[in-house]
């Protein structure tokens, strides 16, 4: 419990989270307990993934060092409470942005870093081509996800019936599906490729073409620190902008000597954007130098799992990633 003076001090500061991060000299980042491609520890115990890279980008922007991050593994049930109680500075944990989470829980989602949606994997032997043929099926789902409600809504909308089997741990749910307890397994699309890869015989399973819901993932912060929210937002934007400008961790050094005003602004040679954001002028340079651009993060983390980039490509490549420029 904090003292009254501390509470006074905290509420009087307009940037309590940013101040806290500077004082601690690390970013406390809430991640999953292990979701391949997004946040999972590797063989050496290093956290890796798309969501982990956002934490590292924020640390690179604010503290100039992408390694100054501490990770808090959280279950789906714990994640919002951990953020609300101030246990973590930012939640970067395959979290779907919804109205309730934004408005009722009072969590701010400054940016989207992955567009996903609920889909189904089914046993090939059932010979099903579309989710609409799943009437009367038994469907495995994970609790505490938006999938549970997505599946209920989809079946209700199409006047279909199903029996849910809700198993807490992802591994146990996957095994129950493999054993034939369920006809289909409903998960976010990005998970289904990983599920299929884990199957004894992957070719016995097919992912249905329908994506029955929208699931934009994004990092979450508390609303009491506007500046911190902007730092998180522009850290994500900087990674996407860098890819669009063709800047990668390998080529960013050349941008330092470029005459292109866009590149000069990006690396902090002009524009003074770092000062406006309250961080070092080379914040975006450090993000790309130390973490890489969005495409590098995808290639490093998601691509090896066999998950297509799909709509998460840049707008000019046919995807929907379209973010404001640094200007």
């Amino acid at each position: 419990m904090e003292t009254a003076a501390q509470a006074q001090n905290r509420s009087s500061s307009t940037t309590p989270t940013l101040d806290g991060v500077r004082r601690k000299d690390f970013v406390q980042c809430g991640v999953t307990t292990g979701a391949g491609g997004f946040s999972a520890p590797d063989a050496k115990g290093e956290w890796r993934g798309m969501d982990v890279d956002i934490c590292r980008a924020i640390a690179a922007a604010v503290l100039g060092d992408a390694t100054k991050v501490r990770f808090t593994p959280l279950t789906a049930a714990q994640r919002f409470t951990a953020l609300q109680s101030g246990e973590i500075d930012v939640l970067s944990r395959i979290t779907t942005i919804t109205f309730q989470r934004d408005v009722q829980l009072g969590i701010e989602f400054p940016a989207v870093n992955w567009y996903d949606g609920t889909s189904f994997i089914v046993h090939k032997a059932l010979n099903i081509k579309s989710a609409k043929e799943l009437d009367g099926a038994t469907i495995c789902v994970s609790p505490g996800t938006t999938n549970e409600v997505d599946v209920s809504d989809y079946f209700r909308k199409n006047n279909l019936k199903f029996t849910p089997v809700v198993i807490e741990r992802m591994e146990d749910g996957t095994n129950a599906y493999f054993a034939g307890r369920c006809d289909a397994f409903a998960q976010d699309q990005s998970n289904l490729a990983a599920v299929r890869a884990r199957a004894p015989i992957p070719s016995d399973h097919v992912v249905l073409p329908e994506v029955i819901s929208k699931a934009p993932y994004g990092p979450g912060v508390m609303p009491n620190d506007l500046r911190w929210m902007e730092i998180v937002r522009w850290s994500v934007y900087a990674m996407i902008d860098a890819e669009e400008m063709g800047l990668s961790s390998k080529t960013i050094d050349q941008a330092l000597t470029s005459d292109d005003p866009n590149l000069q602004r990006f690396v902090g040679k002009s524009g003074g954007f770092g000062a406006m954001l309250g961080v070092n002028s080379d914040w975006a340079f450090q993000i790309v130098k130390q973490v890489g651009n969005y495409g590098e993060s995808y290639d490093r983390n998601i691509k090896p799992l066999g998950i297509e980039r799909g709509i998460n490509r840049l707008w000019k490549d046919g995807g929907i990633l379209y973010v404001p420029d640094l200007r």
């Binding site: 419990m1 509470a7 509420s11 789906a76 049930a77 919002f80 409470t81 609300q84 109680s85 309730q100 989470r101 009722q104 829980l105 009072g106 059932l126 799943l134 009437d135 009367g136 099926a137 038994t138 495995c140 609790p143 505490g144 996800t145 549970e148 409600v149 599946v151 209920s152 809504d153 079946f155 209700r156 199903f162 029996t163 849910p164 089997v165 809700v166 198993i167 807490e168 741990r169 146990d172 749910g173 095994n175 129950a176 054993a179 034939g180 307890r181 006809d183 508390m222 609303p223 009491n224």
Partner: protein, 429 residues
């Protein structure tokens, strides 16, 4: 409850008990004398009044506890406000939006969160009550088997207790569940008997529906109950008078047969069996037991039975060997000795620890989330995830478990009070 041997019910004068009771009387006499002696001079000092002191101290303790909880509640409320987290139980009325696998209570995703939680509670109660019944029956068997003189039986029972008691329940639940998952798919379901199907989706059996003649069957049941009471009372009176009762079992079975066939002949009830059939993905029609429910029920009752078995064994060992020997000397069979002499006395020792095993079973049923049975905790988890009202949802679940536990404790203590106390009745000199 087994019928108590008659002589147990009448209080007897026990020489040593009488002596100690007399000693107590003397001691309290001395105490009151002392009090009378000191009363006038110390009356003005309220602090020295033990009664006053006890009340004061207890009031202080209660006040401190209340203040602590009030402080926690106030601090939590103010923290929730500063973090702009909406609190309250308004979410209970909103539509839940998620489906729950079919259970005893009807439910659809249009229903409210309150309804969803009620469905979860119903599922928890169903598995707990059935689990308690099964665990008690199995526990009795294990307890008696461990005391068996036959080496194979007692060793098997000991092995069961040691294995089941010394492995985590969660693992056992996962074990039972994974056993159910090696069964064939619905299309290749096993058919142990016609109309019965066993597959990875569960056990499907025909359901029976009555049609007509219900009134006559009801009347027959009522008549049977009245006649049964009559027969039992007559038999008891006869045994008291002549030392031997009526052959009640044979009489009652005969009565039941006559009454039931009369009712069937007059009422002409049509009993139709609805057989489960494979349609589309799953079996439809009939009754079904899901593998989640079966695994949870088997896991909980076999686990708890090991503890209950030990309690029952302990209770029976607490009965003096003289009792068994005396009963044997009267020529009672081993089963009758157990039923009429040992168990009625042992039950008083057995009831209190068994109550806590019942409570454990009920609370352990919350491990259901691991194997996908939609119990109260599973629904609570989903609810708190959808609504974000973690504190309220968990407080509600805790309150409900507390209520269930207190209800079980109350029922068991009422049962315990009905039993004759173990110590001889206190005698008033």
């Amino acid at each position: 409850m087994p019928i108590q041997p008659r002589h147990e019910r009448t209080p007897r004068l026990n020489p040593s008990a009488t002596r100690s009771a007399l000693r107590i009387v003397h001691a309290s006499d001395r105490a009151s004398e002392a009090q009378q002696r000191t009363w006038p001079e110390r009356n003005h000092r309220l602090w020295n009044n033990p009664r006053f002191r006890a009340i004061l101290l207890q009031t202080i303790v209660v006040a401190i506890v209340c203040a602590f909880f009030a402080l926690v509640a106030m601090q939590t409320a103010s923290n929730l406000r500063t973090r702009s987290i909406a609190s309250g139980f308004h979410f209970l009325g909103r539509a839940a939006g998620f489906e729950i696998s079919p259970g005893p209570l009807p439910y659809s995703s249009r229903d409210s969160y309150a309804r969803a939680l009620a469905v979860g509670l119903g599922n928890t109660l169903r598995v707990s009550l059935l689990g308690i019944l099964l665990a008690t029956a199995l526990g009795l068997l294990i307890g008696v088997a461990r005391l068996s003189k036959i080496w194979v039986i007692s060793t098997l029972a000991s092995a069961y207790v040691e294995i089941v008691r010394n492995t985590p329940l969660l693992l056992q639940l996962l074990f039972w569940y994974s056993l159910s998952q090696v069964l064939p798919s619905p299309a290749h379901a096993l058919r142990p008997l016609p109309g019965i199907f066993l597959c990875v989706r569960g056990l499907f059996v025909p359901s029976l529906t009555w049609d007509g003649g219900l009134l006559w069957i009801g009347a027959a049941l009522l008549a049977f109950m009245i006649l049964m009471l009559f027969v039992l009372i007559r038999s008891r009176r006869r045994r008291e008078q002549m030392g031997q009762g009526l052959p009640t079992t044979r009489l009652l079975v005969g009565l039941a047969t006559v009454l039931l066939s009369a009712a069937v002949l007059i009422g002409h009830p049509r009993i139709t069996a609805e057989r489960p059939a494979l349609m589309g993905f799953n079996f439809h029609g009939g009754m079904s037991i899901s593998p989640e429910f079966a695994a949870l029920l088997i896991g909980l009752s076999t686990y708890t039975a090991a503890f209950i078995g030990e309690t029952i064994r302990g209770g029976m060992l607490a009965i003096d060997r003289g009792q068994t020997e005396a009963a044997a000397a009267l020529g009672l069979s081993r089963v009758k000795i157990l039923r009429l002499v040992v168990l009625p006395q042992a039950i008083r020792v057995i009831v209190p620890p068994t109550t806590s095993q019942f409570l454990n079973l009920t609370k352990n049923s919350s491990l259901a989330v691991a194997i996908g049975y939609p119990d109260l905790i599973s629904i609570t988890n989903t609810t708190l995830n959808q609504t974000g009202q973690a504190i309220e949802a968990i407080a509600l679940a805790m309150f409900v478990y507390l209520a269930i536990s207190l209800a079980i404790s109350l029922a068991m203590s009422l049962y315990g009070d009905r039993l004759v106390p173990l110590r001889p009745a206190r005698c008033n000199p």
